[in-house]
């Protein structure tokens, strides 16, 4: 069964860092450009994230995500460049359409912001196994029940996709149309979705029983299957990230 997470199983020093450090890095990459409000800082931040992604050996996996994001960003550049209300200075003209400086600068801000967020998140997503992330969060005090819920999604979705393809085949074998006009395709939606949902809901009963029998609701402190993995440098990295963030804040207020 195909996994839905983007995690790439590899060996690299980025993979070795604990999820908390990576979460802190996201906060850092998110807030530093917001505090300092400078293009240079945003550029550097995006650059650092991309270098880290390359160091982790997962840069190829980022291409589908970035290409989807770029598709939207191109429309942002076009629309803001042409129509932004603050537009005044014409930068260049293509036929009857004029591209304005203000709109393009704003589009650049948006592009950098989105790139920055996406690349920082991708470091976490591509180099951390979802179950490791959840386990770390549970150690830090998240409810283990919620932890179970999150981990089990990764198990249930492939199951449901398998049952959906079975049902699609069965309905097609009975002669149901799934291609053609919009009205035909709309009509196909419910007979395909309904049985999957019903089956999944009925399964929850068994799952709930199985969990309760295994002491899901017991209040005894839970133990962990794996030992906690920490990198020797992670405390230092966390401290440096926090110091830089606080330093930037202080500089912004008093500088």
């Amino acid at each position: 069964m195909k996994s839905i997470s983007l995690y790439v199983d590899k060996e690299s020093f980025i993979h070795d860092f604990d999820p908390i450090t990576k979460l802190l890095y996201i906060l850092f990459a998110l807030f530093l450009p917001l505090i300092l409000l400078s293009f240079t800082v945003s550029f550097i931040s995006v650059g650092v994230s991309i270098v880290l992604l390359m160091a982790a050996g997962v840069i190829r996996k980022t291409i589908p995500v970035f290409s989807f994001v770029f598709l939207v960003l191109i429309t942002v550049v076009i629309i803001q460049g042409l129509f932004r209300p603050e537009n005044e200075t014409i930068l260049f003209q293509i036929g009857p359409l004029a591209m304005y400086k203000e709109g393009l600068l704003y589009a650049l801000t948006i592009t950098l912001r989105v790139m920055n967020i996406v690349s920082a998140f991708l470091i976490l997503v591509l180099t951390t196994k979802p179950s490791d992330l959840v386990e770390t969060l549970v150690r830090k005090g998240m409810s283990p029940r919620i932890g179970y819920v999150i981990v089990s999604v990764f198990q249930i979705i492939p199951e449901m996709m398998a049952s959906m393809s079975t049902i699609t085949d069965a309905q097609r074998a009975r002669g149901m149309e799934t291609e053609g006009k919009l009205s035909v395709r709309m009509k196909a939606f419910l007979p395909l979705l309904g049985p999957v949902i019903l089956g999944a809901l009925i399964n929850t009963k068994e799952r709930a029983l199985a969990l309760e029998v295994r002491g899901f609701n017991s209040h005894v402190p839970k133990t962990y299957l794996y030992e906690e993995k920490t990198h020797a440098l992670s405390k230092w990295v966390q401290a440096i990230l926090l110091l830089l963030l606080v330093g930037a804040g202080v500089w912004r207020i008093f500088g």
């Binding site: 209300p85 967020i117 199951e159 449901m160 019903l198 009963k205």
Partner: protein, 200 residues
């Protein structure tokens, strides 16, 4: 039988296992909409259904977890978790107050939920995309309004409105239809009543 408040945070095991199923249903709905090349997202059927079955708390949790999981395939989704939580909450409240009990009422509720989703999403769209939604039709309208008025907010609000309201309306109607078709023993499973806390 004393009815427990819909805000109870003590979730039964059945209500908790409902959440991953809800996320799965969202995922399948979205996939199916893409497979059938429908022009809508239809990616919140699970959240709505979970809110109907388990109440606003389960709905909101399902919404939040849904977007956290989507975030693992598309990082921007993390941001829209707020919208999903709002959808789960509003559906749960409306349903448990009895405002989604017939097809007519479901239409009104669908419109309300579409409006709520629009109002919550618009500031997020402006903050992250300069006001666009990424949907072709909505963005064309966005460009048109931006060219003719000077309000990014109005353009962005309408951009989201034309996409979200039909989508959420259809999602609520589909979910209501599925809910009505569910066997009673399945519906009863998630009711958080003291009396039926034990399963079978």
């Amino acid at each position: 039988m004393k009815k427990q408040s819909m805000w109870s945070l003590r979730l039964s095991t059945a209500a908790l296992v409902l959440i991953p199923v809800a996320v799965g249903v969202n995922y399948i709905g979205k996939l199916l909409a893409q497979l059938l090349k429908l022009p809508l997202w239809l990616d919140s059927i699970g959240t709505v259904l979970a809110a109907m079955l388990g109440g606003p708390v389960v709905g909101a949790l399902a919404g939040a977890i849904n977007n956290i999981i989507y975030g693992f395939t598309d990082p921007i989704s993390f941001v829209y978790a707020i919208t999903s939580v709002a959808i789960g909450l509003v559906v749960g409240i409306l349903f448990f107050k009895g405002y989604i009990s017939s097809w007519g009422k479901a239409i009104v509720a669908g419109l309300i939920i579409g409006l709520v989703a629009t109002v919550v999403s618009t500031p997020l769209n402006i903050g992250f995309w300069g006001g666009q939604t990424g949907n072709v039709w909505g963005d064309a309208l966005f460009a048109y309004i931006l060219a003719n008025t000077d309000s990014t907010w109005l353009a962005s609000l309408l951009d989201e409105l034309v996409v979200d309201v039909p989508d959420k309306l259809l999602v609520v109607l589909i979910s209501f239809g599925i809910f009505k078709g569910l066997p009673r023993n399945v519906v009863q499973l998630y009711k958080n009543n003291e009396k039926i806390e034990t399963l079978d």
